[in-house]
């Protein structure tokens, strides 16, 4: 069976739903959202705490409420939302294979928006040895167990990671009556510089990492290594939550042969969020693992304009310089500037650093020439996106070589201490 649509949006999270709402205002039911879960909304569906909607809806709501709002905005605008509909592969340059209880079909579109999000690396992906007991989760799984299925979690939890999402895990554990006894992170930056510092009432051990999970049927403890002394000690617990350490859900981008960015591991996009394949676009955490939901939603709004220009035949396809970054910066998004193209979402580049800088001085260099430099009044901190005005690179020569973004004052010795 073949179905033809104007735009197919893969993924009904904040990015996909917001893109669909914006597109449907022009294209109505020519916009089809394909969501593999039984409900649209993406991660916010099960992230049952306040903290959503600030930049896009100018509201401060809970995850589930946010998911419902975005869903109703997209369907009110006229987009069709197909749930329990998994996109499993490509059937052509702009054709998708879809499985749902309604059948196996091919969806052909004039434009495709990939908005498949990002996930946390689970324990095996972090290559942590030990037994394979029950009680080991990612935050995503934990929150679904607690908020969607009302399951009992254990009594004592160790949280691996200390990013924004880790605090979300703390809230969920407390809600489920499980005491977070320790947060461990290899990072040592300002907020966590003191070993044993207590945040949110949870002891934080900076410069440590989990080296083993113990327990045959249920977790009984984890072994934690102090990265400074190399010493191990055992922390009794019955629950371990592996938080953050994001990887884009990039299977379709890869199997479709899109050019990927080595830093984000998502598709490489220009400032209008077009990928390397004409007619295929991307938005949300697939492109920047991981930013907050409102930023994913703003991507959705932004990509809609590019998609409409593509459908109208007025899209700019001029090649332009590529953006790279140097350690301790791990990635930058978007990665391509096009002559005459739009400025990125909110006029900012998104960057990820692995080291803390209180007042970062960011420089951009093209063909050996410094083309921009900016001192920011906000810190660059690991574990969250750090934003830099696009003006930093706006002076790039459109016909020149790649632009490299760097934190000034970083010598080579420091550069070598990249993530291992």
């Amino acid at each position: 069976m073949i179905e033809r649509v104007r735009v197919a949006v893969v993924g009904g999270g904040p990015a996909g739903l917001t893109a669909a709402a914006a597109l449907a205002r022009r294209l109505g039911d020519g916009v089809l959202v394909l969501e593999r879960e039984a409900e649209t909304g993406g991660i916010p569906r099960h992230s049952d705490h306040l903290g959503y909607g600030l930049r896009d809806l100018r509201r401060f709501v809970s995850g589930p409420a946010y998911a419902r709002r975005l869903t109703s905005a997209a369907s009110t605008a006229g987009a069709r939302l197909a749930t329990s509909a998994s996109v499993t592969g490509w059937a052509g340059d702009r054709a998708l294979e879809v499985t749902s209880p309604d059948g196996r079909r091919v969806v052909e579109a004039d434009a495709i928006v990939l908005a498949t999000g990002a996930r946390e690396r689970p324990r095996p992906a972090r290559r942590i040895p030990g037994d394979r007991p029950d009680g080991v989760y990612t935050t995503g799984q934990l929150q679904q167990l607690v908020h969607l299925y009302h399951r009992d979690i254990g009594k004592r939890a160790v949280i691996v990671g200390a990013e924004l999402v880790s605090w979300s895990a703390v809230l969920t554990l407390r809600h489920a009556g499980c005491r977070p006894v320790l947060m461990t992170t290899p990072d040592s930056y300002a907020p966590f510089r003191l070993t044993g510092r207590v945040a949110f009432g949870v002891p934080v051990l900076a410069r440590t990492r989990v080296v083993a999970v113990n327990g045959r049927s249920r977790v009984t403890s984890v072994d934690v290594e102090d990265l400074r002394t190399g010493r191990h000690h055992r922390v009794p617990c019955d629950t371990v939550v592996f938080t953050a350490d994001w990887i884009p859900e990039h299977e379709l981008a890869r199997t479709g042969g899109l050019v990927l960015d080595a830093g984000t591991r998502g598709p490489r996009v220009d400032t209008g969020l077009a990928t390397s394949r004409p007619g295929v676009f991307a938005a949300g955490n697939l492109l920047h693992p991981v930013d907050t939901a409102d930023m994913a939603a703003l991507d959705g709004r932004h990509v809609a304009a590019t998609v409409l220009a593509h459908l109208d035949g007025s899209a700019s396809v001029t090649a332009g310089p590529q953006l790279n970054c140097e350690a301790p910066l791990r990635w930058v998004a978007p990665q391509l500037i096009r002559a005459g193209g739009p400025v990125p979402v909110r006029g900012q580049l998104q960057l990820w650093t692995s080291q803390f800088r209180a007042l970062p001085h960011v420089v951009a260099v093209q063909d050996g020439r410094r083309i921009g430099s900016v001192r920011l009044p906000w810190p660059a901190a690991p574990g969250r996106v750090f934003r830099v005005p696009f003006s930093l690179v706006a002076g790039a020569d459109p016909t020149g070589g790649p632009v490299t973004i760097d934190l000034a004052g970083f010598g080579h010795s420091q550069r070598r201490t990249r993530r291992v």
Partner: protein, 459 residues
């Protein structure tokens, strides 16, 4: 003493299940007794799942004969039941001059084992076949017959077949005592004693202990741990065939193999332990594998790891299987099935049948049920989510609940309705692949826990 069964087979791994299936096809009454809550929950669940030709076995041994025979038997049985098999072939790669010089001898050995398909190839042909190999490969030996399969489906098919033939499967019954009487043997089990005229010991890692309960003291099982990495499916193009090291005294060494589920495997280690339950991975083992992997195929290390696990080989202090009939005690030992039991299982059963045939009437019953049709877990075959006609007939095959492995609610339901339903979430994983994918439950874990927690919804 009243006798419950003519024969009790202890251990429902591949070997015990294959033996029970064979005996179940006669007019004898048979019990298959398993300590764990599920079949195939011991060594048979955690191996490299290669269907071995037996090219590198020690010629003249029982193992060499039964591996070659088992290769053919399991191949046929797989075709009849739908156990997935991919005929990928293997390539032994020589990285040193010494290894290169061993290759012709290995080909000779293969021929002495009756396997004539091996060919010597030059270094550029090695790279043509596996372009992602690291630098330094000097040459290779092809083994076109080596294949990959699914150990979970194999064990389950044999056990279901046995049950369909009338075998009584007793799960959760660890044999802890043996009392040999004049006509029958009483097996003391947690959960209820069992009496049988004959007993077959297919207890894998526990075979020496059970053998001791029969009064023997002839061997000791040493658990030899093998740790493994499973890499993401997106890495699969890197490994078009099984890449084997040239075997040395130290063992078979570290291989890279595609898996039947579409992943790439790196391992195993080989380390003798004391603890027969130590199926965890170790920091040292994983670090060793990553170092080896970096040399063998640097690009593989750039890919995400989907799973790590360890299996325990039941190694014994001799270089062959130890299969022996003690007619006086009406007892058969099937021990030391160390690293080839998946392949050889059916041939081991046939061999045991031959030995037992001297004491018992093993004439097959007429009208045996057909072998079971197993759900396809293989990535190369058609899976339900891809099967338009099947989804049209039953929409539950279109409702994907594990996104990474594309397992549908229909398959979960079928697993619970099968003759040997899963006992827990891990049993469901082995029957369907659910939760075995790259997210390891980030997306689907909660829903699957709910489904497995209320299997009644499916009955």
């Amino acid at each position: 003493m009243t006798t419950d069964f003519d024969i009790a087979v202890v251990g429902a791994g591949i070997v015990g299940a294959a033996i029970a299936r064979l005996l179940g096809g006669t007019s004898l009454t048979v019990a298959l007794i398993e300590a764990r809550d599920d079949v195939g929950d011991g060594t048979s669940k955690a191996n490299t799942a290669i269907l071995h030709t037996g090219f590198d076995a020690t010629p003249g041994t029982l193992e060499a004969r039964l591996v070659a025979r088992g290769y053919a038997m399991l191949g046929d049985y797989a075709a009849a039941t739908g156990i997935p098999v991919e005929r990928t072939g293997a390539l032994l790669v020589a990285w040193t001059d010494e290894q290169l010089q061993t290759l012709p001898a290995l080909r000779g050995k293969a021929e002495r084992n009756g396997y004539t398909g091996c060919e010597l190839i030059e270094s550029d042909e090695v790279y043509r076949r596996v372009p992602a190999l690291g630098p330094g490969a000097l040459g290779g030996l092809t083994v076109p017959g080596e294949s990959i399969t699914c150990t979970w489906t194999t064990n389950l098919a044999l056990a279901i077949d046995a049950v369909n033939r009338g075998v009584t499967l007793l799960r959760g019954r660890r044999v802890t005592g043996v009392e040999v009487g004049p006509d029958a043997t009483r097996l003391t089990c947690a959960g209820g004693d069992v009496t049988a005229r004959w007993v077959v010991n297919a207890a894998g890692l526990g075979a020496d202990v059970l053998d001791g309960l029969f009064g023997h003291a002839r061997f000791t099982v040493t658990p030899r741990r093998g740790e493994l990495f499973v890499f993401d499916k997106l890495a699969r193009p890197l490994a078009p065939c099984i890449v084997l090291p040239v075997p040395s005294k130290a063992g078979k060494g570290v291989l890279i193999s595609p898996t039947i589920y579409g992943n790439v495997m790196l391992g195993p280690t080989a380390e003798d332990l004391e603890d027969r339950t130590a199926t965890g991975t170790s920091e040292r083992g994983l670090a060793f594998l990553l170092d080896r992997g970096r040399e063998l195929m640097p690009q593989l290390l750039e890919e995400e790891v989907t799973a790590t696990y360890a299996g325990l080989r039941a190694a014994i202090d001799r270089d062959d299987y130890l299969i022996d009939v003690d007619a006086l005690h009406r007892y058969v030992l099937v021990g030391g099935i160390r690293s080839t039991g998946l392949t050889a299982g059916m041939a081991i059963a046939e061999h045991v049948g031959g030995l037992l045939g001297e004491a018992l009437d093993l004439t097959p019953r007429p009208y045996l049920p057909d072998p079971p049709r197993m759900p396809n877990l293989g990535e190369a075959g058609v899976r339900p989510y891809q099967d338009a006609a099947r989804i049209d007939a039953d929409p539950e095959y279109g409702r994907i609940v594990c996104f990474c492995e594309r397992v549908t609610r229909g398959e979960i339901r079928d697993a619970y309705r099968s003759p040997i339903p899963p006992a827990d979430l891990d049993g469901l994983r082995r029957r369907t692949r659910a939760m075995n994918g790259r997210c390891q439950g980030f997306y689907c874990g909660a829903q699957l826990a709910a489904l497995s927690g209320s299997p009644g919804d499916f009955s």
